[in-house]
């Protein structure tokens, strides 16, 4: 109310005293700013403030109650020399690689199959998407009993076919495989659906042209589908990287939050579970904030690497490759011409 009143009075006064001068630029825009302000206010309170506060917090030592103690960069210097932190990074990267690489390949194959499927299409699409919307806690509990060392289904199966049982939930590699398989199970269908959307956006003309030229299905896949899907692949790679670096719930549910959050020997300690354990398990909020910022830097770094590897400057690359091909073709044609003339 106050806003609109102010506008009307100012409008009246300007009319009386200086009829030529329009109302001030900012004043005229005020209603618009007021109208869009709710988002910015909410963002400031729930988005920007926590972000800035966590920077501030990472320069302090604080256990949640009492006074915060300024320690400068001490949290960060401790972080760099903290073996558990480095272990959590290695663990996260290993889990990420052994889950994301097979996941994206599998998703691509599934998407291709879905794209070519003629019957029960919607059913398959829903079926592949269901794991993604299942509660990750429930999924992890089921996987927990599948992988359980002594009484797990998987070990029971291994032993029934005469193999040695594997300590899935206590050997460092076993833990990582268990977590990676949960991620794989949960996200493959999701990525497949995204790939499928990308596939359907590729014009059928291209495929028809390829067919006319006698391209094999394999050639079609590698020469047409994959290059044209590059933006989608980049998207899934970046989101999987961000998701992969933030793996948390799986190890949290598998190993509980008491004491050793990463499981035996910290084999399943991920960056986020270490962050959680530091901030909310050991109540060292300043250190938790520092880990959070280290994670942020890592995610930025990996997104850039992904961009460079898979995406890069798309147009430039395609034109360069096209130019190379044309050059090669011209050279081939010339050689052919030369052969022909030589023969004559």
């Amino acid at each position: 109310m106050a806003v609109s009143n102010a506008i009307s009075t100012s409008a009246v006064s300007t009319k009386e005293t200086a009829p030529d001068r329009p109302p001030g630029k900012y004043r005229r825009a005020l209603p618009q700013y007021a109208a869009v302000s709710p988002f910015f206010i909410l963002f400031a309170v729930f988005g920007a403030f926590p972000i800035l506060f966590s920077i501030w917090l990472s320069f302090h030592s604080w256990d949640g109650i009492g006074q915060m103690k300024w320690v400068g960069l001490e949290q960060y210097s401790y972080l760099l020399t903290d073996p558990s932190f480095w272990k959590s990074i290695t663990n996260t990267l290993i889990i990420w690689v052994i889950s994301t690489v097979p996941m994206l390949l599998l998703a691509l194959v599934i998407a291709n199959a879905l794209h070519n499927a003629t019957r029960f299409r919607s059913f398959y699409r829903i079926a592949y998407f269901v794991p993604n919307i299942t509660s990750v806690v429930a999924v992890t509990m089921v996987f927990g009993s599948v992988f359980s060392n002594n009484f797990g289904l998987l070990n029971a199966f291994l032993q029934s076919v005469g193999l040695q049982k594997i300590e899935w939930l206590s050997a460092p590699w076993g833990i990582k495989v268990a977590i990676a398989s949960i991620v794989l199970w949960r996200w493959t269908g999701y990525n497949a659906i995204i790939f499928l959307a990308g596939l359907q956006a590729i014009s059928s003309d291209v495929y028809e042209a390829a067919k006319m030229d006698g391209a094999s299905p394999r050639q079609t896949f590698w020469r047409i589908t994959v290059p044209l899907l590059r933006p989608v692949i980049l998207f899934t790679a970046v989101t999987s990287t961000i998701g992969g670096l933030q793996i948390f719930t799986e190890s949290q549910v598998l190993f509980g939050s008491s004491g050793a959050i990463g499981g035996p020997g910290d084999g399943g300690l991920t960056i986020v579970s270490y962050l959680y354990d530091s901030a909310f398990g050991k109540h060292q909020f300043g250190y938790g904030a520092a880990i959070g910022w280290a994670l942020f830097i890592l995610i930025v770094l990996f997104s850039i690497i992904n961009w460079r590897l898979i995406g890069g400057n798309d147009d430039e690359r395609i034109t360069k490759r096209a130019a190379r091909r044309i050059d090669a073709k011209v050279a081939r044609d010339r050689a052919q011409d030369k052969e022909l003339t030589d023969a004559h």
């Binding site: 309170v45 949640g64 927990g144 050991k282 109540h283």
Partner: protein, 427 residues
Amino acid sequence: MTVTRRQFLVLGAGAGAAAAGLTGCGSRSSLGAADQLSMWTWVGSVNDSLIGEAEKAIPGAAGKQLSMTRIGGDYKTKVLTALAGKSLVPDIMAINDDVATYFPNADQFHDLNELGADKLKGDFLDWKWKLGITPQGKMMAYPMDTGPTALFYRRDIFEKAGVPTEPADVQAAAPDWDGFIQLGKKVKQAVPGSSITDNITSVFDYAIAQLTKRYMTPDGQYIGDGDHIRQAWDLAVRVVKDGLSANAQSGSTDANAVVTNGQLVAYVGAVWWAQLGPKNAAPKTKGQWRVCATPGGAGNRGGSFLAITKYCKDPAAAFAFISWLESSKNQAEAFKDPVLFPSTPASYTDPRLTAPDPFFGGQRIVDVFADSAKKYPGAYFSPYDSIIRDPIAAELVNVEVGGKSSDQAWKDGQIQVKRELTRAGAI
């Protein structure tokens, strides 16, 4: 309905004001209405009918009512968040056995002695009373339940193995951990696969729970690298090397499974394990379990406290409530329902505790635990106990699971502890 521009602006301004209000403008207040005392606790820490009574009227505080919230999930984190916000803090707060971690911030709580707690000191176990007092002598937390330890064992499997079966005889056969390990070996020989602990850290934690000193001295000196801790460590490693641990790490599905399938034939545990362990995980073993005195002496693990925050509206009424709730009569009632073991010795002869327990074959298990609670020597808990214990326990797991050498694990654990303590500013 169409929204005019003016209405829209009003709506926007309202939302902005609401957002500003949510940030909380530093009003230091406690939760609840003026005639209500708010209390936070976790699930299963109080008796429902007693709380229901206080929710109508708090005995001894005219015109006041209790308003209790059971906090699910990570209780301590939520409590710390409230305390950090300095507003909407509960009047009364339950605190777990990590009460000492609050000592550096004791100024957030009332000194209960000023409210008349010292007059009731004689009703409680002496060591339990001391745990709520800061090194500066401030009575910060009021005793709730305790966690006396005992040796749980499967009578039927002991019988099959041909070892003593009656509590007095088992106690005589396993007066200390040595005797207990010998007994465990005999059972294992007769019944292959038998274990006397679920994992290595249980032995360590319960051995520590019997000591008169723990990880730090009251004047802030680190003694977690001392002989007493190393002996508990060596004992835990020995149980594993002798093949008597089930290798079911705590928190895993295996931990329950070894109880359910009868692999765990004996266990040194606190009183609450009866409920969490066999009664929940292996209801079919009803009548087969017995308890006797802990090998190596009485111990205590767990037990909780109540504190009155400095934001409390009416500290006198809050104290009237907690002293009523934790009276020996009412603690006996709380033993009946969520099975909380009283910290008031007068409760131990109450019929509600002395009733034979059919799950334990009609044994009067309270006698064993009451004896343990009375004999427990007590020890100083420092604010840093949990940040010391965790790296050491993690290294013990490495010994059991990863086959790490005991000496190397001990060394690594100590290095990590010292790093943590340095960062926490404790040493």
